[in-house]
Amino acid sequence: MVKREFYDFGVHPAPEGENSPEELVALAKHLGYSGLAFVPHSDKLSPGLPFIPSDGDFEVFKCIRGIELVEENPSKLHGLIGKFRKKVDVLAVHGGSEKVNRAAVENSGVDILNHPSPEMGRGLNQVLAKAAGENEVAIGLSLSALLYSRGFRRVRLLSEYRATLELARKYEVSIVLSSDAMSCFDLRAPREMAAIAELFGMEEDEALASLSTVPTGILARNRPSAGYVRPGVEVVEGFEEGIEEGIEEGIEEGIEEGELP
């Protein structure tokens, strides 16, 4: 059995959150994650994007640069998406109003639309879900809201997530489960995240996929590997040798062709 790699694509480090990226990484490693995406809210950015510890071990533990855009005006949101798209590997949008959700799902530069439904019945509908499916925008469900609410609010949240999940299944929209963590104490191990997701109707496999394969897919799309040639084409083995041989062959062929009358 192949060991899954788990990712949490919604962590808010200091200064917005409480803990530094290093502390979050230490705990996430301990909990069994293979990587974290740091997605500070864009309206609470200190000048520039926050420092991300990389120290060259990207293969061991992936620290991914991301951002969560907060903007109520759709045209300004499109502008921000254009501005940050090249700078970050994960671009999320803080959903909420119908306008923002609509703008986010119709822009294929967006990777994740986070918590599209702050209130009951104002979240995802079939139009938005269809657009999200076409533009490959994943829907992000944050689990920390489920941890900290009680009673009435948690009941509403669970039924909202259930409704979102059904629409997402119907229109083949990917779901990303994220902790939306503001501190170390909001992080949960992948299996626990999956167990919480099972409460609102996700199958175990589905939940684990939304913590592993869906994030990996987003990452692969935005961070091309060394052998990347063009969409869908990639040199997997013998990357450097292959290219050199190819060039040499090409030159030889060119010469031969040139000699022909």
Binding site: G151, S183, C184, A189, R191, E192, A194, L199
Partner: protein, 123 residues
């Protein structure tokens, strides 16, 4: 009292857990918080079906029993625990086994509970 036949005893799962917390905690406090979190999430009826018990807890490491068919519900109930004794805390399930011995030997022996550097927690 006659002991129940082994074949008639309900099947269990034992979760080896670790509590990541701001402060040290006793077994009694942890038990109370787990029941509170579980009842609030699942309701009294479901929690009674889960058969959750804290069998032992020391130095941040412990073993929790649950019914073998209710493993994911129990995990979820443990995951929504956010505080013990008004100090923030997180339960991390290290592993699951069918026997107490297995859970102890595989997941707990020689392990020290993970601690978040307390100095860094000050705002």
């Amino acid at each position: 009292m006659k002991r129940l036949l082994p074949s008639l005893r309900p099947r269990k799962r034992y979760l080896a857990i670790e509590l990541i917390s701001e402060d040290t905690t006793t077994r009694g406090e942890l038990t109370r918080e787990i029941y509170f979190a579980a009842c609030s999430l699942l309701g009294d009826v479901s929690v009674s079906e889960c058969d959750i018990k804290v069998l032992g807890f020391e130095n941040g490491l412990g073993i929790i029993q649950c019914a073998h068919t209710k493993l994911s519900e129990t995990r979820a109930a443990l995951a929504v625990l956010t505080q013990v004794n008004r100090k923030r805390a997180t339960v991390h399930v290290l592993g699951v086994s069918g026997t107490v011995k297995g859970a102890t030997e595989k997941f707990l022996e020689g392990r020290v509970a993970f601690s978040i550097n307390p100095l860094s927690l000050k705002p």
